[in-house]
């Protein structure tokens, strides 16, 4: 019995199986990297310089707002760093400014551009062109991606917590508790989600928070079904009986014994739930039920693209971002599913590219 093999926990083993699927593993890495980049969006795409050196003084426009008058202007209004006058001031001898890679925020209007805008073709000033309001599309895509993914993460987290909670209670206590909660869930689940959204959208101001609240009221139901089924299966296994014979309390048994063994469907569904949430937000925005301009949104860009088919860059770029996001999530999800599927042997796992 003197084994010197490293003791892999099932979770670690699954992770290694997941890593062996290169497509899925790299999809996850790319996705996480993109999201982290978008979280640093202010540094990458902003209409204010990162650092300014003006007349022996350091300024940080990214953090503070400075009036024009500081940089030699006449008025005590917010400095517009696209203004050729300010630009000229900042590039005088001894002064300098470091601009972000893409000098636009998602709601920046460049009043000084000479080019045709509303919408405008991709050119040197706007790498991916501008939309019908004249906003820079690249900036809107970066911030739109950030909003979508954050929204999806939040929705998934709330869904997982609620789903596990209800599924666990139903599956563990079974019997009458299960029956009653299941009937309530049936009633709850039969409410028309889209109508509710339309009704609420017409009563209240459109906002992300409203969408988030409404969608998370319904998003947990399918998940709780899976968790419930896993709990029902696991609760009658002998290790649970042994735990009860040891005298552990219900919470301890649920938390320590059944839950870790019931998470497979939850983890498998995470990427797919994420992509579903991103799609939900995009489609609501597309239908005009979502957030209002100038908030960045992939769905709204898609709608603009549809309405301005001659401005091909709007539809193409927003479509590409959505497809890429969903593809990355799907590849990740597939790899996760295969990694957790015990019917696929370790040897074959590596081959599924």
């Amino acid at each position: 019995m003197s084994q010197v093999i490293p003791h892999l926990s099932p979770a670690r083993r699954n992770w290694q199986r997941f890593k062996r699927n290169r497509l899925g593993y790299w999809s996850l890495i790319v996705f996480v990297a993109l999201y982290v980049l978008s979280l640093a969006g202010e540094v990458i795409s902003n209409d204010r310089p990162l650092v300014v050196r003006y007349e022996q003084q350091w300024y940080f426009p990214l953090l503070n707002e400075y009036p024009e008058s500081i940089f030699g202007g006449n008025l005590p209004i917010k400095a517009d760093y696209h203004d050729p006058f300010i630009k000229a001031q900042l590039s005088k001898a001894g002064n300098f400014a470091i601009y972000p890679l893409n000098p636009y925020y998602y709601d920046t209007l460049n009043y000084f551009s000479k080019a045709e805008h509303y919408p405008g073709k991709p050119d040197d000033e706007n790498l991916l062109g501008t939309d019908i309001a004249g906003y820079d599309i690249l900036a809107r895509l970066i911030y739109g991606f950030r909003v979508s993914v954050t929204f999806a993460l939040g929705l998934t987290a709330v869904g997982v917590v609620l789903g596990i909670f209800f599924g666990a209670v139903q599956g563990y206590f079974a019997g009458k508790t299960d029956l009653v909660i299941q009937r309530l869930i049936d009633i709850w689940g039969s409410m028309p989600e889209l109508y509710l959204l339309i009704i609420f959208a017409s009563i209240f101001d459109h906002s992300l928070l409203l969408l988030f609240g409404l969608l998370s009221l319904f998003g947990w139901i399918t998940l709780s079904d899976y968790v419930r089924a896993e709990f029902l299966r696991n609760r009658q296994l002998e290790y649970v009986k042994s735990a009860r014979a040891l005298g552990l309390s219900n919470t301890q048994i649920i938390w320590r014994h059944i839950l870790p063994n019931s998470l497979t469907p939850v983890i498998t569904f995470l990427p797919f739930r994420m992509s579903a949430a991103i799609m939900a937000l995009a489609s609501l925005d597309f239908l005009g039920l979502g957030v209002t301009a100038p908030a960045p949104s992939l769905g709204q860009l898609l709608l603009q693209g549809k309405e301005n088919l001659d401005a091909w860059w709007i539809a193409l770029s927003s479509f590409s971002v959505l497809v890429l996001t969903l593809l990355l999530l799907t590849f990740t999800g597939e790899a996760l599913r295969n990694a957790l599927d015990t019917r696929i042997s370790d040897a074959r796992q590596g081959g599924t590219l």
């Binding site: 019995m1 926990s9 099932p10 014979a245 040891l246």
Partner: protein, 533 residues
């Protein structure tokens, strides 16, 4: 010597890198009953399935010659003509081997029509004859039954009828009785022998041969003419049944034969006090009624009708019965895991059911359990340290981490495991080792009474013996009392001082183990003893 019916020559089977059968040579004569014996992982089932090319994803080499033709080289279409017609097979679990959506009659008729030029009416007639021959009750009625409507034994009979429908020359029986109760096992074995002998009487050396795949040596002794023993993919010994049991040659065979557990019990002190006393335990399970009435009134099924059980210090009491007899219900009632309808249990003089929640929890440390399934009884996501230590944390919160560690290591060494396994997960162990971990989990709390719920029935015979010996030595060392629940009289005989025989929720006989086994009074006990020894 005539031409053998089936000869397996230099047969090997591999899955990817793993060789499961290596250079196997075996022949079966017409009209012979050959048993292929081995423990799990010995490659016996793969060999049997390869005869019909039923294994997928395996590389097979060598020859399997049947009637002068090499089966391994036959195309998928040709092998289909052999399957069911010349070579038929019966499986371990008839419930999964029969299609649940068709009646057994339909399934047998289909098989007959597929292989023989008969009309549906003729085939139905033949099916009825077969069902009568295999001893199905009321064949005219049950020909239209679905598999789930029949009991396990009746289903296995239907499987046999189906296998025999085309008069096969070779019948492969893969653990045909393992999933059945003891008394039914004996009847199925008897039926198989009768059917085979009948066929041999009619056809002489052309009669049906049976290849029996099993791990059960009792069965082999009763059934086979000749025995082939496999160990880890190799054939280690072939001999006549009598010769093999009288003079086994290979060490592995000797080990297998010696692994039938022997009686090994210490006398109980005459003044030993009663540790556990259950009086008139009655357990009912509610049976839901259909529709709205179910909400208002409910039926119930009585799993246990007033059982009285006593257990003294240092004593092992066996509870024997078949599936559905209520023996596991009794275990759970004693463990206080289910609600009893009426009755009392006194543990060490304290009424278990009347105790406060806190005292009940304290009582659990003194009353521990080891379950049957070593794969289901350990949580797959905990290390051995967590599994064994969990009870300590709960019941002895005063222990420091160091003291806890010492106690875990100590109990692991008691059950024959080293401290190196502490951070391993259950999937790294074999069945026998897992059962040792489960025993360690129960024993670390220094209980007074341990309930052993079929502690060895999922294990191979040689490991079963080791575990039983371990249990006996632990009992000697700590003066424990065991409540041993089993369907297997050999296990009961090996361990128990006294035995209770349970049937349909009632104790029909109880007394000294030796006495019950040698002079059973109740007809049911008699059939049980006859079937298993």
């Amino acid at each position: 010597m005539t031409q053998p019916l089936l000869s397996i020559e230099n047969f090997s089977a591999r899955f990817d890198q793993k060789t499961v059968v290596e250079q196997l040579n075996l022949t079966i004569q017409g009209g012979e009953r050959l048993a292929l014996v081995g423990e799990s992982g010995s490659g016996k089932t793969v060999t049997a399935l390869s005869i019909l090319k039923l294994v997928e994803a395996a590389q097979l080499s060598g020859k399997i010659v049947f009637n002068g033709e090499n089966l391994l080289q036959k195309s998928a279409r040709d092998i289909q003509r052999v399957r069911g017609a010349d070579i038929a097979m019966i499986f371990q679990e008839p419930m999964t081997a029969l299609n649940p959506l068709f009646t057994i009659g339909e399934q047998i008729v289909e098989t007959i029509i597929a292989h023989q030029a008969l009309s549906r009416a003729e085939a139905t007639q033949k099916t009825l004859e077969l069902l009568t021959r295999t001893g199905i009750r009321q064949p005219e009625k049950n020909i239209n039954s679905y598999p789930h409507q029949l009991s396990g034994g009746q289903r296995q009979r239907a499987m046999i009828a189906m296998a025999l429908s085309c008069k096969p020359k070779l019948l492969i029986a893969d653990e045909p009785t393992t999933a059945l109760d003891m008394t039914i096992r004996a009847r199925i074995v008897k039926l198989l022998i009768e059917l085979q002998e009948e066929d041999v009487r009619a056809n002489g050396t052309q009669g049906m041969a049976i290849l029996l795949i099993t791990h059960d040596l009792n069965l082999v002794r009763k059934f086979a003419h000749r025995v082939a023993v496999m160990e880890r993919g190799r054939l280690v010994e072939t001999a006549d049944t009598q010769t093999l049991f009288a003079q086994p040659q290979h060490p592995y065979t000797i080990k297998l034969i010696n692994s039938i557990p022997e009686r090994n019990v210490l006398p109980v002190a005459s003044d030993a006090k009663t540790l556990l006393e259950a009086r008139k335990l009655r357990v009912e399970y509610p049976l839901p009624r259909k529709g709205w009435r179910g909400l208002l009134q409910s039926h119930s099924f009585t799993a246990l009708h007033g059982a009285d059980v006593t257990l003294r210090e240092g004593e092992t009491v066996g509870i024997v019965g078949e599936s559905g007899s209520g023996k596991s219900t009794l275990a759970q009632a004693v463990l206080n895991l289910i609600k009893v309808k009426s009755g009392t249990i006194e543990v060490d003089g304290a009424p278990l059911y009347q105790l406060s929640k806190r005292l009940q929890r304290e009582m659990r440390a003194r009353l521990q359990v080891v379950f049957q399934d070593p794969f289901g009884s350990l949580s797959p996501r905990q290390t051995v340290r967590q599994i064994v230590g969990e009870g300590l944390e709960l019941h002895f919160p005063a222990l420091t981490a160091e003291e806890r560690y010492t106690r875990i290591v100590q109990v692991l060494s008691e059950v024959g495991l080293s401290a190196q396994v502490l951070d391993s997960y259950p999937h790294e162990f074999s069945g026998g080792q897992r059962q040792r971990i489960a025993i360690a989990r129960a024993f670390v709390l220094s209980p007074k009474v341990v309930i052993l719920d079929e502690p060895t029935s999922a294990l191979d015979v040689s490991i079963q013996k080791q575990v039983l010996e371990l249990l006996v030595s632990l009992q000697k060392k700590f003066g424990l009392s065991y409540l041993l629940i089993s369907h297997d009289l050999t296990v009961i005989q090996a361990l128990a001082h006294r035995v209770y025989v349970l049937k349909d929720g009632e104790i029909i006989e109880s007394g000294d183990t030796e006495q019950i086994i040698h002079t059973p009074q109740h007809p049911y006990t008699q059939s049980l003893v006859q079937a298993s020894l």
